[in-house]
């Protein structure tokens, strides 16, 4: 079976959610810091926006596909 080219399948929700969790943890550490890094924070928030965007797109309603797998019958000519 050929790999699908469906872009939606290339989004790994689990990985995205892990990355979002790490960004949130990094920001929490910055929140406790005396000198939060605004520029890095902005980069992290922008990364989060992209991850959220991808994840939301993958979670958008997508029709399921159905295929019946049959036993191959050997033919001779």
């Amino acid at each position: 079976m050929k790999p699908s080219n469906n872009k939606k399948e290339n989004v790994h929700l689990g990985e995205n959610l892990k990355k979002l969790g790490k960004i949130a943890e990094w920001l929490e550490a910055q929140e406790q810091s005396d000198e939060p890094d605004f520029d890095e924070g902005l980069a992290k928030v922008r990364e989060a926006v992209e991850l959220i965007k991808q994840s939301r797109a993958r979670l958008t309603e997508v029709e399921n596909e159905f295929e019946e797998i049959r036993k191959e019958i050997a033919t001779s000519h």
Partner: protein, 415 residues
């Protein structure tokens, strides 16, 4: 004659009548047996009876006789090694079985025998006894151990299904899958009767060649006799050893089928199996919304925390960059974001208004005009005497210029 016409359709039947064999050229014995066998092959049937004798030659094929319990009629039977082993039954006198196959005349002897291609037991008593025996054996081997079970992965996309295409189960599954872009690969199988074990095993074999995240094997409820394929040792082991996690959704009354005990999960119904597969996808929607809210809430707090900085103009620039950047990214996909996220961003926009008002009230030029000054060392605002050592140079900004200064002595006052 009239009765015969009624039974066979009268004139219509007569028109279909073939030329009698005696009118054709005589057949050799061999040709006749071949002709009979050709016709017999079309007469596939399930027959039931009591095993009266069974012999086990070294070939592995099994020869046995089945006796009718009512009138004592007997037929010789044979089952080849492979389907016999797949059945997981040790044939012995007294067992009641169902055999699926067709009759055949053996040319060297002219004897008719029933060639069984599948067999199964009948009678709840014997099935229950064998169920308990096999359950004990497999449990002792650890086949049902929780430690062996694999976790069904989150966000499965490629799902194999094994069930009958003719039952309600396949519809129950498909109708209860959420719209998450699943790729469903279906392998049809008989799920009841003597053929079931071989058919389900063949379906597993077909799916083993596919790339899958999980396989669901399912059928509706039934008696122990109807479900006996799911208590077959070979099938139970195939499920336990299958390369991806298997969910067994097999309806049952009292005894959980051994196939279900060996599976990695065994929800009670096909609908529950579909919901099991949906679960991580449904939770993902909530998790994305939660992480979105968490990230923007924290970042808003960070920006708000900078309100006390002595350089509010820089703070405003930073805040505008932060929220402006986020908002411009969001413009492109605002339609897709959840309501919760929209509310967070609406609050972010409102926050910029607040910041602008704060900045206006705390304009540094205004404070400098009032006599306040800003000390900087190496370009960074000094907030504490701890930021300089005796002898360090630093800049002091007043309303009309900068004094280059040197710390002669330090004296700390209350925090």
């Amino acid at each position: 004659m009239r009765k015969q016409e009624l039974l066979f359709g009268g004139e219509e039947r007569k028109a279909e009548k073939k030329e009698p064999l005696e009118a054709a050229k005589p057949l050799s014995v061999s040709a006749f047996i071949a002709l009979v066998n050709e016709r017999l092959r079309e007469l596939e049937a399930q027959i039931t009876g009591e095993v009266t004798k069974a012999s086990f030659p070294p070939s592995g094929h099994v020869y046995f006789s089945l006796k009718d319990e009512h009138d004592g009629s007997v037929i010789d039977c044979v089952i080849w090694r492979s389907p016999y082993e797949a059945a997981g039954i040790k044939l012995e006198a007294g067992l009641r079985i169902v055999a699926l196959g067709h009759a055949d005349v053996y040319p060297p002897t002219g004897r008719l025998a029933f060639k069984a291609r599948a067999i199964e037991l009948t009678g709840e008593g014997i099935l229950k006894k064998r169920y308990e025996e096999l359950k004990r054996k497999l449990a002792a081997e650890g086949v049902f151990d929780e430690a062996r079970k694999r976790t069904v992965p989150d966000y499965p996309e490629r799902i194999g299904i094994i069930t009958s295409r003719n039952g309600a189960v396949i519809h129950d599954l498909l109708n209860n899958f959420g719209p998450f872009g699943f790729k469903v690969l279906f392998a049809d199988a008989r799920v009841e009767g003597p053929e079931a074990v071989g058919s389900i095993m063949e379906a597993f074999k077909l799916l083993s060649r596919q790339t899958l995240d999980v396989v669901i094997v399912a059928r509706g409820g039934g008696s122990m006799e109807a479900l006996q394929a799911f208590d077959n040792e070979k099938l139970v082991r195939a499920i336990s050893d299958f390369p991806v996690p298997v969910i067994a959704a097999i309806g049952h009354h009292e005894d959980v089928p051994l196939a279900a005990l060996a599976a990695d999960a065994h929800p009670s119904t096909p609908t529950a199996a579909a919901q099991f597969v949906n679960r991580s996808w449904q939770e993902a929607s909530f998790r994305v919304a939660h992480e979105s809210e968490r990230i923007f809430r924290i970042y808003r707090n960070i920006v708000a925390g900078a309100r006390g900085a002595l350089d509010p103009a820089a703070y405003l620039r930073s805040a505008q960059r932060i929220y402006g950047g986020v908002l411009s990214s969001i413009d492109a996909w605002a339609v897709e974001i959840p309501e919760l996220f929209k509310r967070v961003m609406a609050r972010a926009e409102a926050k910029i208004d607040v910041i602008q008002r704060v900045v206006a009230a705390n304009d540094p030029a205004r404070n400098l005009r009032l006599g306040y000054s800003i000390a900087r060392r190496d370009g960074k605002v000094l907030k504490s005497v701890r930021g300089v050592r005796t002898g360090d140079h630093f800049d002091l900004q007043l309303k009309d210029g900068i004094i280059e200064a040197r710390a002669e002595r330090k004296k700390q006052v209350g925090e």
